[in-house]
Each structure stands twice: as C-alpha cells, then as structure tokens.
Amino acid sequence: MASTAPASTATSAMGTQDIIAMSGVNKWYGDFHVLKDINLNVKSGERIVVCGPSGSGKSTLIRCINRLEEHQEGDINVDGIELTDNIKNIDAVRAEVGMVFQHFNLFPHLSVLDNCTLAPIWVKKKPKSEAEAIGMKYLERVRIGDQAQKYPGQLSGGQQQRVAIARALCMTPKIMLFDEPTSALDPEMVKEVLDTMVDLAKEGMTMLCVTHEMGFAKAVADRVIFMDQGEIVEQNEPNAFFDNPQNERTQNFLNQIL
C-alpha cells in the first residue's frame, strides 16, 4: 500500500558489467536441496526484487552472496572476487556488500551512532572523527540524525530499520542486500523504510531485495525474480511480471498475495 506512491519507474542507471555472477549454484541443508542450479547475473546499478513463498530459498540465495550461507556447488563472483573458502576473499566481498536484516540486528549495547561507526573504524581503519562524520551523514540521510545518541531499544521498529540501513551504507558498499526488511514492522512503519529504500534506488545503488512489497517492486525494480522450491521459476521486468506472469506457479503466488 505504502510504496506505490513515489518514484517514476526505473530510471535506469544500469551499467553493462555484471557485478554479481552466480552460475550453477547448488546448496543443501542436509538432504534438503534449498538452492537448485541457480544462474543469476546482476548488472551494476540494477535493482532486483526476489519474491516467492516461504521456504523457497530466496533468503538463502541472497545470503550466499555475502557468504552468510555457504554454497556447495557452482560459482559466485562478486565484483570480480570469487567466493571460496578463502577468508580474504570473503572479507573483501563483505566489505563491498551491505546487508539489512528482517530483525534489524542492531547492536543493543551500542548507541545508534556507535552502531554506524564500528565497522568503518575497525574494518576500514578510519579515524574516529571521520567515521562519526560518515555515520552522521548517513543517519541524516535516513532522517534519523537527531536520534544518534540514543540506543536501539529506544527507537521504533521503523527507526531501527532505517538505522540498520544507515549502518550498512556507512561501509559505502557497492551492493545492498535486503532480507525482508519490512516483514517485522508494524504496518504504519513500512512506508518510512520503503521510502528510504526508494531513495537509495534512485541514487543508482545495486540492490537485491527479498520482499513481498509488490508496490515497491513495481516502483523501483528493474527485474522481479520469482523463486519456488529452490529454483528461479520466472524473472521479468515488473510490469510484464505482474500483468502477464507466464508460469502457473507464479500466477498462483501472485493471486494469493495481490
């Protein structure tokens, strides 16, 4: 409901280079085949929405991109870095990929500003004053600068999620992953988070977003991917995807949620 309002559709700032390339990716949890032969290429600046029923592997898919989950077969290449067991590669990828979680996962014992400056100070080795300037810049950008000295527990869910977005942006990532960023929010807070994400999309950030906010998908996505039972069943640009789904499973899913 919230997200349909803003944004002209996809002012494409897409590059021609693939910033993420996944080919033949398979993953199992024990016997459960959670990702089946995934092939996905994402161009720099592209905005992708991943949707699908629960248990379809969509969260696992994006969590493989920053190695929160390990894939067992296939290749994942992020901005020219191959994701392997090599810890250096993993750290290099993580420094370029920001992630926003369903449950925010802010650090409750640190102030909002400290949440934002921790990684720039310790991972990017920035001096504290510079890190704080960066932190304030992004907190202002998600319109929460006046809460910088508070603790996460004192903020509303929507505010916490915006802090989480700012925290990820402080590492100046090239890619942002969103794992159901609005699912844990009260309905009246969904809009403020989606608005922040729309702003981000307008600036040309490469985004992969697992969400069921179809309004958001229509407004900003370059491509919508539908997953079911570990497979990419269908993908298309949003208008075609929503108006004219090809696969029966996609049709059933869209009938249920729209």
Binding site: M1, N66, R67, L68, D91, R94, A95, V97, G98, M99, F101, H103, N105, L106, F107, P108, H109, L110, L118, A119, W122, V123, K150, Y151, P152, G153, Q154, R167, A168, M171, M214, G215, I257, L258
Partner: protein, 373 residues
Amino acid sequence: MADITNTGANFVPTEARPAPLAVRPGPLTWLKENLFNTWYNALITLIVIWALANWIPALFDWFVTSALWEAAPADACREVAGACWAFVYEKWRFILFGTYPFEQQWRPGAAVILFIGLVVVSCFKPMWNKSLLVIWPVGLVVCWILLSGGILGLDYVPNNLWGGLPITLMLAVIGCLLAFPVSIALALGRRSNMPIIKAFCVGYIELIRGVPLITVLFMASVMFPLFMPEGLTIDKLLRAQVAIIMFAAAYLAEVVRGGLQAIPKGQYEAADSMGLSYWQSMVFIILPQALKITIPPQVNTFIGMFKDTSLVLIVGIFDLMFTMRVAINDLEWRAYYIEGMVFVAILYFLFCYSMSKYSQWLEGELHRGHKRL
C-alpha cells in the same frame, strides 16, 4: 494490501473513565490481604509470630544483653550467660593476621586496607579506563612489599607466617580477577571450530569441574613439586593461588559460554556482514552483551570461590577460617568457639553481601538507557 483506509469511519470513542483514586491500603487492610487472607495463611502467620517471639528475645539476650562486652580474662566469661565477646577482644589480631609477627601487624592491616581500597576504587564507572592498568600493578606491589618486607627498612617476613584476612582476600580477589580472562578464553575455545582447541577446552573444563577443589589444591601443592626438576621449587602460596585460578576458570567458563549462547544469531550475522573479524565481533559485539547478561551467575561463582578459599588450610596455608580455628584451640578459651565462628561469619558475610549488592548495582548501571530487545 487491500484498501482499509475508509473502514471504521463511524468509530466513536467512548468517554474515558476517571483515573482510579490512588488509595494506599492501611496497615490493617495490608495485614488482612497479605498475612491473613486464608485460614492456612493465618495459621502459618501465627506460628511464625510465635516462633519469632520465642527466638528473637533469646538471641538478642545472648548476643547483647547478657553478653560480656569488654576485654576480660577467660574466667570472667564463665560468670555470664550470654556471648563472651572478650574472646574476640583477646584474639582478633590473631584471627585477622595469624602468625604474622605481632608488633609488625600494622603491615598486613595496611595491606588489607589498601587492597580493599583497590577493589572499591575499581568498582566505579569513572575509573573504568587505562588508569586501572597502572593502579593495580602498583597497588599489588605495594601490598606485597608491606607483607613481605625485606626492603625499605621493613623486616623480611616469609609468607609461611602470613595468615588470616590478607590471605583470604588475596586468594579470592586475585583468583577471580585472573580466572576471568582465562574463563573467557576457555568458553570461546569450547565453541571454536578448531578441533584441537575445542577438545582441549572441553577436556580442561570437564576435568577440573569433575574433581573437588581440595583435589586440585592437593595436586598443586603435593603432586606438582614431584614433577619439577630437582632444586626448583615454586612458592606454596603461589601454587595454591594458581590452583584456585584454574578451578574458578573452569566454572566461570561455563557461565560465560551460557551467555555466548544466549546472544541471538542475528548479532553474529550482522557483525559478519559488515566484515568484522572473529576477534572484532567477539570483543565489540558478542562479549559485552554475553558478560552483561551473565552477571548474576558470575557473582554466584565469585561468592562461592571467596568462601571456598577456606579449603587452602589442607595445604598448610592459614586463611581466615583456619586462624579462627587455631584461636579457639587455646584451652582457656575453648568454650567460646561460637563467638569466634560468629565473628568470622560476619566478616565473610560483609564481603559476600557487598559483592552481591555491587552486582545488582552494576546490572542496573549497564542496563541504563538500553534494554535488551
């Protein structure tokens, strides 16, 4: 995503009810509600009142009214029906400082005060910075010089003459202080993916927890020297101290591990996703939260260790409990062991209760401003 904006247009809120009067119940109402609300509660209340009415005056009489309060020879105690505090007057210096040379006992006294001062000073938030790293070594060295002497014109007093309160305090506080980092290392090790480290930590924790402290002390003081090369000896007090550290660390490690497991997976993932290394995420994210939520069981362990130090007597170290027992071995005063026990119990209680109170304050202090979600 359905359109819900117009539903409920006819909703009219009801008038708010007036706020309830803030009535504080009178004492009679309170009694009726809390102590006499059912027949069996009333019965229990009456029994308890009867029991207290019998015991409290008797105890008070023994402790205070009929007690002998001034210094007096042991014979005078036989005249009184109550406690003979003359015993404490007579023996307190021996109980507190053991066999330390009598005319030098200001030295352990000063060391104890300095030591307690160190602990108290470290408890307050404005002090939680690098200055502690200077204060503690300096303070401990001064304590050591005071006790041991041999320089600055102080007579040398070998540590087999030390005893009483300084020993108890030193073994307990230094034990807990050094056991703490060891326990964190053990807890992290036990959760490690590296098989050898993990096996070592599990083995250590289970082995040490599986045997009584007496066994560990005995191993350290009797068995350990047998394995040492000829001529090389390690001080007995130091060996007991190390045994206590090892023992406390095993218990604390499990407490810390409990805290680590209570931290939601999302915290680890958030730290990972920002590229923090293992040690960075432990030091900045996980441990501060884990240690905070485990304050109650940590203090439990500390209090337990404080009292367990009394076991060092089996390896011939004279702690507070032991000096008291030696004091009541004096034939003349033998009948007054209860007074001695009460005196030492009060000392133990003061230290343990302070720890408990401090931990409650600390929890509140660390919680201020942010609740866990």
